[in-house]
Symmetry: D2
Subunit: 443 residues, 4 copies
């Protein structure tokens, strides 16, 4: 590669480059800057920094020190120096546009870029480990397919550089999808204001390899909370009664949260995903930090659930004599694909003989719903599609992987939609039957 | 100061130097090497490395990486390069001896050197912060008076350099007192084999400032455990039922441990002092690490308590479908001062008009009991004395402090004992009434 | 009323008689004997005792003493002495048949008869209390509409006494529907062997008053468990450490059971509905008894859930040093209405201009599924229909009630179906359009 | 026996009569009335009803219905009809006095009469079962030796009928010792106002058989609480989210209470001794009732502990959306024997060659402290003595028993003290050496 611009390269190579350099939410400095550089080199209009994301609308931004060390690591490991400065401090969104040769509506495609704070498997049964493209950065891993999403988007960008399509294509490369922390902030920066058709593609989802679920419904809303319990430290042997045991209160709260009742007829979830308290066995811990979340497939249920969890935390804190500080660090709203989007995706799939499939389990949350609700609210169409990518460990597990042979399928599908043009109600006309088959995509 | 040798200097200055550079157990590279250098400069025979501590008998040794970075920090911040090499890897004990001009038994004095993993208060009400000698190293603090213990020992060492005393004085400078991880390993290296009288002095303990409790009894035995619960990671929304939630199991175990019944007539304690699990709200955590301890003032009760805690951890792990690994990372035995030691200390206190006082609360554990049981088992005498050091935050809390004006009291008391000579049963004669008042000690 | 035979009487009067005399599962001596007597008086063939229910296939039969005192109470309060003897010991099922004048399949209608161990509201806002027909027997209440089900069935029986219908009608009056304890035992006695069409009607279910949900799907399977934790009693002050605290272990288990994860895409439930332990504050309780249940809308999920709960109970018992005995006291399988049954019910509803409605929440479990699976397995049709009965407190709450004006609707609907004849596949022909409107039913 | 008067009879026979008819606190109608009758027959002045106990100062009085049925049972099983009427409603205290022939102070002896709500062992290894004098009344048992205390008191009363002693002897026969519910109410009725020396004897206490601990110190204060959690009932499958789960909140509270830290240097206890909630597995329970207690050997610690438990209960109730009602149903204060009482008891023991022994475990609470504090406050002397009674199951366990051969030892010891006369400071003179040995006592 002759510089940070990453193309031309097979889509799988792009994915592996991102896979080896996983960056968590708002720390995607290397990933986002290289994507921005690549798109700029391809002739796309590229917005970064506050033009792409509203800084104060972000949720759950990591501490300054963590942002800074991630930025420096990116600078030292191939980040694109043209774009890194504007991203400093966690402004890691990219909005790239390309106007086609013909008039038409704006078609926006979302790709997320963040990885997870998870240690990747080093087992020889895990292909990235066996083939040596597993995470270079301990404790961080692309375990949800975002590396593949971005590789598809950039490959598509290269193919569309001929501008042989109606309307405008917009790539929404979002940071911090995990936790629902970046989407609304991009919406707040106006990234979805002019969009007539919005689509987000997600790999995996338990679908058969290469099959497409054209319209995912029931994406759950969620609230991510950070709860800090404050107690009183004391020597555990000499004066345990003088302490107020933050760890113990947090433990009781964790059990209480998980014992919340389900809501019949709805998918609901609670999870205490992290609990950190104390340093030494002989000190009564005076602080416990908890990361937790609630989810529901309905906005009202979601609100009730969050309110109930907050009440539980408050009561338990009080019962153990602890202070409590609860911060909302991520939030997404529930949403569903609409019929217009479904028809467009299903049509494209059929045109390419891509098999359709339904989800066997209800979907989780996705920050894409911030864009979906905005676009649908503006009278546009919005959809969320799944693309099966093989059977590996579950999403968010150390052995998650994707079958790279499906990446070109994703490229083809989206390319078809763009070239065909999209015509959701109220957002301009989409010529029926438009869009000749593009040349084949290499895996 | 013309080098790492730290004397002559007022005892409070020594204490402040250690206070600013707190090092946790087996990482006392700066502290121990500077102490060794000072003693060597004063003409004492100094043993370090495996001669002072049996490497494999240590418990709860930090990971290699942590040891190494502490070692490097010590090398860069005034550690004594003559002794640092032998200490590398956590061999941070010092055994220093000086033979008096007259025959007599071996009198050993224990001083511990380790700090705690605790963030020191920055409040202006906290004197070290107000006067600018608070910890330079975030997250680490001398919050148990060990800085004062070592300052007393070194000041005493300087005063005894005249060798005007009977028998031999031995300073046992121990690492990793917190957690009971270093004492037994020094005993295993033979450090207490020849000792006729052993004394350990501890500052604070809730005693009135400047008052001495000449014979602490009922020092609790304890067991420090590290428990690791292993679960199965999963996406918290898409497949929570596929996960096995290590955090939740650990939370249930924490509550169960704290709900253990007391044993009537005994002081018993349990504490889960740390619990760390998970990284993200949307992942079912597959690992939870817990630091916990049990204590009792009786060896049999202590064993039962530890066994019961282990059974509880195992049952809870099984109930949540988790694996469990429990490691003993620290252990001390209960012990009490004997009458011989009590008489010697009380006599010295009376000779200096130091008021006597009793503890108002039973004592905690101290790794000094490893030495005490060894010496008492050999027919020698062993005692543990408290010296009141003012009213500050409790031991192991961020506002713990000591009134430095009592440090010279400690020096005088121990000096009197050494110069008087000690005559425990079966370990040689101690001349009664020996020991003229030494010149006064500067604070 | 001139004897135990209860008819003719308005359907609401029948319901009120049952409402005032609520009897829990297998204790329905008064209820069942009066129903049997009424049916016999009407000329139906009546089976009771082992001919109606297989004694050893019953689950969760109350203790002998409880059965006996319920039997005696029934004998003293209007039970039908012709049938009481055969029911002694909890054989409280009734199978009543009437052959029509024309050939045709067997149409079976299930009505359940048991009440709940719940104290009925005495509030003036609660109509039964206001009008003086609330439960005469403290701690027991018809809070699920079974009183109405039976009143409908008996009213229907009277109307069908003209035998002007094809085939045979069979009333399956089942005991112990709550808990899923009686249905399978009636199936084991052969009660459903010859059935071509099976229908169970349930009042309430959150439906609009008077509206019918013609085909309930996703009835949950469940397992009801009784768990007994055995500990060691001890004086709570003198020797708490000698005790093994059954109450505490059961409390931990209750939290653990409720913290089980949901299974995405399925309705699942767990509930610890009762916990009883201890008698005095100063004794460590040596016994704790728990009633709990698991539910799922899928047989495999149901099995996994039950297995997981059992493992949790076992682990927690072990962690607290307790013995554990778990008994299955009730079990039902999941089932759904089939298309044939749906068509029959929906057709009848339309014929009577009864509005159709869908459930807004997924259904719970019903022991009717034991019959449904048997009939469907034999090639017959089986359905479960809901009939809205007004808005009162929720099912199983002290203020549950039914709007009696819908009872005649239920009678009319079922009468239409019977008179029309039912023709599920493989079970004989049902003449289309059969069944003239019967005379109106009084409320 | 020719009537309710029970004497003359061997002391063991008396004990067995009481053992077979155990009555819980404030229900001691048979026991107290027979004791009163016996004392009256012997010529003692007997006070019962409001003269012996202040009705409104009683704590934890059982419900009217329970009192009534116990009263009727007593009337039907040998209760003394002369005294039963005055005791109706739970006024089951007896104060009996006998003036000696010589002047002297008032010596009061306390005997408690209540049994425990515990099922007695039916094992052949349990002597009462083997010999057929085990409890006739299921679920109730003399498991703390009160049957023996009363047998000793009545035997002593018979022997003292000769009035050959100085001063006045007063028997304080108290109800509801368990739970600390009756003593303060007798004090409130003035029962201890004139007492110069108060003694309470307790059998068992882990002492060697026949040995006396002359002065028990550190009797713990306690608070007995009844906590009622109120939730919202709901169908556990159809609307669990509409419920508020009282059982679950109570379970969390039970764990939290038991996880309270100990107070170093003090004996402290907490116990949740009973938890009752729910009736059926398929209902979210709307009520949970808990009996719990706190104890400490110091009044201030006791108060803090109770306050902390109350705060915990309130917080947990709030966290689960529950109402909470906490009632104090029993309370005793801590107390210790004084030196005067100790000297008197030890002297008497030595005079009879009864071996002395110390407790090996700290004592629990005893309602006798209400009398002790009153008498000590008035300038009199008060003591609590233990008398070893063999090795059986622990107090409050189903196999607790006493070796009846020690009962005459108790009689002799107390008789000696009475006949010798007691001379505590400020309460009149006790003639030294008084009191010839009485004739031997039959077991």
């Amino acid at each position: 590669m002759a510089g940070p611009g990453m193309l031309p390269a097979p889509v799988a190579d792009l994915r592996r480059d991102f896979h080896r350099h996983p960056e968590v939410g708002f720390c995607e400095f290397r990933t986002a800057s290289r994507a921005a550089g690549t798109l700029a080199d391809l002739g796309w209009d590229v917005l970064v920094g506050p033009d792409a994301i509203a800084p104060s609308a972000r949720l759950g931004v990591p501490p300054e020190q963590e942002l800074e060390s991630a930025w420096e690591r990116a600078a030292a490991s191939g980040g694109d120096r043209r774009f890194l400065p504007a991203m400093r401090g966690g402004l890691t969104a990219v909005v790239a546009s390309l106007r086609g040769r013909r008039p038409g509506p704006v078609v926006a495609l979302r790709a997320d870029m963040d990885a997870l704070p998870l240690q990747e498997s080093r087992s020889a049964e895990h292909l990235p480990a066996r083939q040596g493209f597993d995470s270079l950065w301990p404790g961080t891993m692309h375990a949800c397919g975002h590396d593949g999403h971005l590789a598809i988007a950039l490959t598509l960008a290269a193919r569309l550089a001929d501008r042989d399509f109606p309307g405008t294509v917009k790539l929404l490369l979002q940071p911090a999808e995990e936790g629902g922390r970046g989407g609304a902030a991009m919406v707040a920066a106006g990234a979805a204001d002019d969009v007539g058709l919005f689509l987000a593609l997600h790999l995996g989802m338990g679908l058969p390899g290469g099959a497409v679920c054209p319209a995912v419904s029931g994406l759950m809303g969620n609230a991510k909370l950070k709860a800090v319990f404050g107690g009183v430290a004391a020597h555990a042997a000499m004066s345990p009664d003088a302490g107020r045991h933050a760890l113990l209160g947090a433990a009781a709260a964790a059990l209480g949260v998980h014992a919340m009742p389900p809501v019949p007829g709805h998918e609901t979830r609670v999870n205490v995903g992290a609990l950190h308290s104390g340093t030494s066995s002989n000190i009564v811990p005076d602080r416990a930090e908890m990361l937790l979340e609630t989810r529901a497939d309905d906005a009202a249920v979601s609100e009730q659930l969050e309110a109930r969890v907050r009440a539980l935390l408050a009561g338990v804190a009080s019962s153990y004599g602890l202070s409590l500080d609860v911060e909302l660090i991520g939030a997404v709203m529930p949403a569903s694909s609409d019929k217009t989007a479904e028809a467009i995706v299903a049509g494209a799939a059929r045109a390419h003989h891509i098999p359709l499939a339904a989800l066997t389990r209800p979907p989780a949350s996705d920050d894409a719903t911030a864009f979906m609700r905005k676009v649908q609210g503006n009278g546009g169409a919005a959809g969320y599609l799944g693309l099966g990518a093989g059977n590996y460990g579950p999403h968010h597990s150390p052995t998650f992987d994707i079958d790279e042979s499906v990446l070109p399928v994703g490229v083809r599908l989206l390319e078809h939609i763009v070239r065909a043009g999209a015509a959701p109600a109220g957002a301009g006309a989409m010529p029926p039957g438009a869009g000749a088959m593009p040349p084949s995509v290499s895996a």
